[in-house]
Amino acid sequence: MEHPSISRRRLLALFGAAASVPVLAACGSSVGGGGGGAPAGGGGGGAVKVGLVVPQSGVYAALGTDMQRGWELWLGQNGGKFGNYTVETVVADEGETPNTGQPAVQKVLQSDNVDVVVGLVNSATALGVANLLTESKKLLVVTNAGAGDVTGAKRTPYIWRTSFTNAQVSAAMGTHLAQSGFKDGVFALAPDYAAGTEVIAGFTKTFEAGGGKVVGTAKPAFGKTSDYQPFLTQIQQSGAKATFCFFSGSEAITFVRQYAQFGLASTIPLYGSGFLTEGNVLPQQGDAALGVQTTLHYSDQLDNPANKAFVESYTAKYGESPSCFSAQTYDAANVLNRALRTATALDGDSIAGALGGIGTVEDSPRGPWTFDGQTPKQNLYLRKVEKVNGTLVNAVVQDLGQQSQPL
């Protein structure tokens, strides 16, 4: 009597083998030489292969789409070339966590043999792949992950950033609030995870330096809190004159809506780091977001010629106005183009060296900025949510001046 489990196991083995063949078919040896494959062709001319690792699935998918659009827009406007290298882009899905992010970076480095990696939304992934880049001596241009360590405590010459650091964004708000009448009481809260802690630390440092007093703090559970009433009641009873907070994604939507529902919006003005009202969260927040003021290094309402052109061509091509994620990746292409004009070769060291020498990026949509410690030293803008002919936007209220990464 043939036992069923034998036939099932044969079926299983067959299915397993069939599934694994396509993956492991790529031949070549992974024992020779240190780290990834040998660097691709060098010298002037020829092609440069770029691995664009952005989220195409999971919670950050919308950010990934904005980034890819920013990248393709710049290439479209500049004949798809960096210097006189034609750009060949390989896109990989960063996903939501390092479990998918790190393999994606490994894939573009080891099997697609790219010269430069661009992208990464998740800070844990950016920090996690540092050793991959240093060992394969390839350059990574981070276009979002805001953890301070990436270009601070855990800096490596192979990782540069065209976005921001968490503390840099909130430090500008700290100084501003200290000078605008809220000195004697601000309540600060952010989710209980690394980025939240960094933002609050950056804010508190400059706010207290300006003589301000933080009257209360709270750390809602990250990713698990959907009812902020306990914290809102605490804010009301702490006697704070204003609230500073940091939330992104679905938490930003829920918090801002509940902030209005519990009546705090009219009595205690809400301030935050730019991501509270940036990109696709704003339309979901609706009128609850009206009047919320945030600081960020970009807004599609910025009044400078570079941004006007950028917003116009982006909206024409994609039917939506760009977010800071699109601008950050647009700039990544810009700085790589400048670097490859002077870089002698395509390996990490030469491009990194060239990047150090590109000086001010004066034609950036966010306004002129320069690299300082491998991350932008840039203007931070105070923005306020207003309704402009029917749609909610982050109108620029004031330029809070240049701010580098607080160390």
């Binding site: 698990k224 959907s226 306990p230 914290f231 939507i253 519990f262 969260v281």
Partner: protein, 288 residues
């Protein structure tokens, strides 16, 4: 402080509507329905798509009932062939269904988090204890209380309720009495699922709808069922209200420890009464 206690009730009642379906299905058929969270999320997305007017809200509730019945019936049908096998197989089956459902919802509704507007008239706030409190949540307390009463009456007072309780006590005996407990099981699965999708629509304006919400809500429902005890409506109600208070008032008193409050409460109950406050020794070493 008082508003936190009030809000604790609103969260508690919503949790009850969510958890009671899981508790009955598990208590009755020993099927741990890990797809319960996906049913909730389906309701939430229905609420999000039809948000706007009262027509939309009631339409969403109606559709949620339909999806709940279909979903419950389907799940009951799918677990039927596994009836002779261990309860673990049925739980694993629902885990597979939960994975598939979550991905299908992500494909259909996309990855962006959606916010859900409360129906007009309930979208504003009202002064309670000198602080403004969203009217919608007051309504949730009312609706939750009514649903709790309804479920309690159905289970305790009606013939179907008696049948459900009898099947929880001894499924073989019920089948000996000539009742085809496959129908009873399908009915309870359907009711449990309708409760889950309804909770999704009701929870929309508070929780919104986003990928990953199904796992968060499943954990919450499991905590309520573990603390409240399995298979008992009373346990689910008391468990949900306790969790509502512990979660909300706890976060108000200890804002910096809010990540741990829920799990600390769970650990406490597991240490003191492993079978939960009201549950019989269903899962533990009790005679089965």
């Amino acid at each position: 402080m008082l508003v936190s206690v009030l809000n604790g009730f609103s969260v508690g009642f919503l949790l009850f509507v969510l958890a009671v379906g899981l508790s009955i299905v598990f208590g009755m058929m020993d099927v741990l329905n890990l797809a319960h969270g996906a049913l909730f999320l389906c309701g939430a997305y229905l609420g999000a798509t039809f948000a706007g007017g009262w027509g939309g809200f009631l339409g969403a509730l109606g559709l949620a009932a339909v999806f709940g019945l279909v979903g419950g019936g389907l799940l009951s049908l799918m677990t039927e062939p596994l009836r002779k096998r261990s309860h673990l197989d049925q739980a694993l089956l629902t885990l597979g269904v939960a994975l598939v459902a979550a991905e299908v919802l992500a494909i259909v509704f996309g990855d962006d988090p959606l916010s859900v507007a409360a129906p007009p008239g309930l979208n504003d706030s009202v002064q309670v204890f000198g602080v403004s409190y969203p009217t919608y949540r007051l309504v949730i307390i009312g609706v939750g209380a009514v649903l709790a009463l309804a479920v309690y009456l159905v289970v305790e007072r009606t013939r179907l309720g008696a049948l459900v309780r009898a099947t929880v006590a001894d499924r073989e005996m019920v089948s000996v009495l000539g009742v085809d407990n496959r129908l009873v099981k399908a009915a309870v699965f359907a009711i449990g699922s309708v409760l889950a999708t309804t909770a999704g629509v009701l929870g929309g304006p508070i929780y919104g709808a986003r990928p990953g919400l199904d796992a968060t809500v499943l954990i919450l429902a499991l905590v309520v069922v573990v603390i409240g005890g399995l298979g008992s409506v009373r346990g689910a109600l008391i468990g949900a209200l306790i969790i509502g208070q512990v979660d909300i008032v706890g976060k108000y008193l200890l804002p910096d420890l809010s990540s741990f409050i829920l799990f600390a409460a769970l650990a406490l109950v597991l240490v003191l009464r492993p079978q939960g406050l009201f549950g019989g020794p269903v899962g533990t070493a009790g005679a089965r």
